[in-house]
């Protein structure tokens, strides 16, 4: 089994934390992983992405081929659209629905959302609101990971939960609990979307 994932968003939104957790879960599960990141040139405020490849067999390329991505996980709706060339015909997009507008020429929001919604498989949610509702405003990325969890398939939801506990252990029990709660809310939200 093989799962190719693109994580994307705007610099500073926390996509590398999502990558770290999936990486931890993959390492623990003993499956192969390659994860290409973008560093440097003060990416804050600019577009950022990470190619994450998970497989039960050895992986060659650090980068995902065109039309090969199983899941795009995005902290920002327009950013999903940047990687359509890499999305597999059967791929799923899991995205925050709230735009992050820090450029003067941000496209017409309705048209952009409509273009995103027109894709065959989209799971979209206001993750900022969900995070706030469960008392962890900074945990929006964990809500997003929860939403994406059922689509990652090669790792179980429980394996991802355990990885969250390991990655945040250093920051104390309360932080672990808050992030697990945000994650669970995301899992639940994705389940509702699919009903």
């Amino acid at each position: 089994m093989k799962k190719d994932i693109i994580l994307c968003g705007v610099g500073g939104q926390g996509i590398l934390s999502i990558a770290t957790i999936i990486g931890q879960a993959a390492t623990e599960a003993g499956i192969y992983l390659k994860q290409a990141e973008v560093h440097g040139m003060s990416q804050r405020g600019g577009d950022v992405q990470s190619n994450l490849r998970l497989s039960t067999d050895p992986i060659w390329s650090d980068l995902i081929p065109q039309a090969g991505t199983d899941v795009i996980i995005s902290m920002e709706p327009m950013e999903c659209l940047r990687y359509l060339a890499y999305l597999s015909p059967k791929g799923t997009v899991v995205s925050n629905s709230v735009p992050f507008i820090n450029i003067p020429n941000y496209p017409d929001e309705k048209a952009m959302q409509a273009e995103l919604d027109a894709l065959p498989s989209v799971v979209k949610l206001d993750i900022d609101a969900v995070a706030k509702d469960c008392g962890n405003a900074r945990g929006a990325n964990m809500v997003l990971l929860g939403m994406a969890a059922p689509y990652i398939e090669i790792l179980t939801v429980e394996q991802l939960r355990q990885a969250i506990a390991v990655v945040f252990a250093r920051k104390g029990e309360a932080v672990v609990e808050a992030n697990l709660k945000a994650f669970d809310q995301g899992v639940e939200a994705a389940r509702k979307v699919n009903l």
């Binding site: 390659k34 990141e37 973008v38 440097g40 600019g46 650090d62 081929p65 048209a111 273009e115």
Partner: protein, 529 residues
């Protein structure tokens, strides 16, 4: 055996630590920065006392590493590809002196210029200096290659170049860890490394005599390998990371020569040519090997690659352009999005550079003839909207010297903007030239107390900038320190105005800590309480 999830950079770092490293010397530069950062924070490296503080520039780094090698210990120098230009004098001559303790020079190339001003290929430098080059293809090889690189360096008594590219430097994979070797004892060379012409001629001849040894090492290298396969129509030479893209595209179907150690393994290439109708060279960066293979096989033999258009002439390799070159295609399913805009990086909200450019924008609007010569750092983003304040950005330090040259030609006002770390890296000597010539330039050293663009590393001249300028002979009446805050923009603009009117060298130092390092320090203080 223990397995760790490591970036290519981190695998190089840990490989070096386990190969008996005694010191790493480096100036931060994307995509090489994480190597030195890893060594600085690694418990094992700290326990072993491995020297790891940042250097002022790549040349001081290279020379210090050569000194450590002279004393018999193993040293690593790390830099981004353009850093090779800065240390080239020391680098090329280290091949003439030869080494004592193992010396590995790591250059991290940036094809596609993700974070650089060019995509020069460091393998040219290795060839130029006539030394072996290693080019690992994956994270495991990044780790494994270090022991071999140091051993080869000590066997042939020459420095060794290690070349990686952005996609390897900044990609993570699991790496199997092996046993650590002890550091070398202090054992200074008794040889004369005095490159007076008489000695240098002898040493250069000795370097040339070692070439067959280096070729033999490459031909027998465990990092180079031949995979038999294919139908005899096309042999594939895949260098470094290119090997992964080839395997992704064709699996075990091809006749592949994987090259991860140079000089080129000539025997294997000749054999591949004899067994195939044509050869394609797949290499990230410039067509270094393609040219060599063409020269080796002669004009009658078809060699394909970047020069023939089978692969793009510029930009990094990826699984798609490599597949296309091998006759496979990864067909795109979804049409490009229409409601999509570019989102370029920008200066952080609240960054002091913003306030400097706020003031400079006023000046540029007032003086249509003004030109602002920029430099390398976060503040290069001042070239983009909304500031659009810069006319140039070429290399580390060029702001001051280009402003000087333009002023020599009669341009007024000539303004230079340079960061604190870039100033100590390569700006100080240019300022001395300007002071000695009393050039009418206004230099702004935008001091955020750190090396910001690469993630907030120590700045070599911290708290020394006024002293450095005065020491170089600056007139104290034309040296000003200001605080870049939105409310101070009018006052800063006035200071610039006043100094533009002065027909001599002025230095204005806007000083406020980088907001990223400020936030990090605040978190650290909170955690320590």
């Amino acid at each position: 055996m223990e397995k760790l999830l490591l970036l290519g950079d981190e695998a190089v770092a840990l490989g070096a630590i386990h190969a008996g490293l005694s010191g790493v010397y480096a100036y931060p530069g994307t995509p090489s920065t994480e190597i030195t950062e890893f060594i600085q924070t690694n418990k094992e490296a700290i326990a072993k006392g491995i020297r790891s503080r940042w250097c002022t520039n790549e040349k001081t780094a290279m020379e210090a590493a050569l000194g450590m090698s002279y004393a018999g210990k193993r040293a690593l120098v790390c830099m981004k590809h353009v850093g090779m230009n800065v240390c080239a004098d020391a680098f090329v001559n280290s091949a003439i002196t030869g080494v004592n303790g193992g010396l590995v020079v790591l250059a991290a190339d940036d094809p596609s210029m993700h974070s650089s001003q060019n995509e020069q290929d460091s393998r040219f430098y290795g060839k130029f200096a006539l030394i072996p080059i290693f080019e690992p293809s994956n994270q495991q090889e990044c780790y494994d290659v270090m022991k071999n690189a140091f051993e080869l360096s000590e066997t042939i008594k020459e420095p060794v170049l290690l070349r990686i590219v952005t996609r390897l430097a900044h990609s993570r994979a699991a790496v199997e860890i092996s046993e650590a070797r002890e550091q070398n004892p202090l054992s200074a060379s008794t040889d004369q490394w005095v490159l007076l012409p008489g000695i240098a001629r002898r040493k250069y001849a000795a370097l040339l005599e070692k070439q067959p040894l280096m070729e033999e090492a490459a031909e027998q290298s465990i990092f180079n390998k031949v995979e038999k396969g294919g139908d005899g129509k096309l042999g594939i030479i895949a260098c470094g990371i290119a090997y992964n893209y080839v395997k992704e595209a064709i699996g075990n179907e091809g006749n592949i020569l994987k090259v991860s150690q140079y000089p080129l393994p000539v025997k294997q290439i000749q054999q591949m040519a004899a067994e195939n109708d044509a050869i394609i060279v797949i290499e990230d960066g410039q067509p270094v090997v393609e040219q060599d293979v063409k020269a080796l096989l002669g004009t009658g033999y078809p060699v394909k690659g970047r020069l023939t258009g089978d692969l793009p002439r510029t930009g990094e390799l990826n699984p798609d352009n490599v597949a296309a070159a091998l006759g496979k295609s990864n067909d795109v399913h979804f049409a490009p999005a229409t409601h999509l805009a570019g989102r370029p990086p920008q200066l952080c909200q609240g960054c002091g550079h913003r306030d400097v450019y706020g003031a400079l924008r006023e000046i540029i609007d007032e003086y249509p003839d003004a030109r602002v010569f920029g430099d390398i750092g976060c503040y290069t983003l001042g070239a983009l909207p909304p500031f659009k304040a810069l006319s140039s950005c070429v290399d580390m330090g060029a702001s001051i010297t280009m402003a000087k040259g333009a002023a020599d030609a009669g341009l007024r006002p000539a303004i230079a903007v340079i960061g604190d770390s870039t100033f100590t890296h390569s700006g100080m000597t240019g300022l001395l030239d300007a002071i000695n010539d009393n050039s009418p330039i206004t230099v702004i050293i935008s001091d955020n107390l750190t090396t910001g663009m690469t993630g907030g590393q120590d700045s070599a001249g911290l708290n020394k900038y006024e002293a450095i300028c005065l020491g170089l002979g600056m007139d104290p009446a034309h040296l000003h320190v200001v605080t870049p805050l939105p409310k101070n923009i009018p006052a800063i603009a006035q200071t610039i105005r006043d100094e533009i009117a002065y027909e001599g060298v002025s230095v204005i130092i806007p000083r406020r800590e980088c907001i990223q390092t400020f936030a990090r320090h605040a978190r650290e203080n909170k955690n320590n309480k």
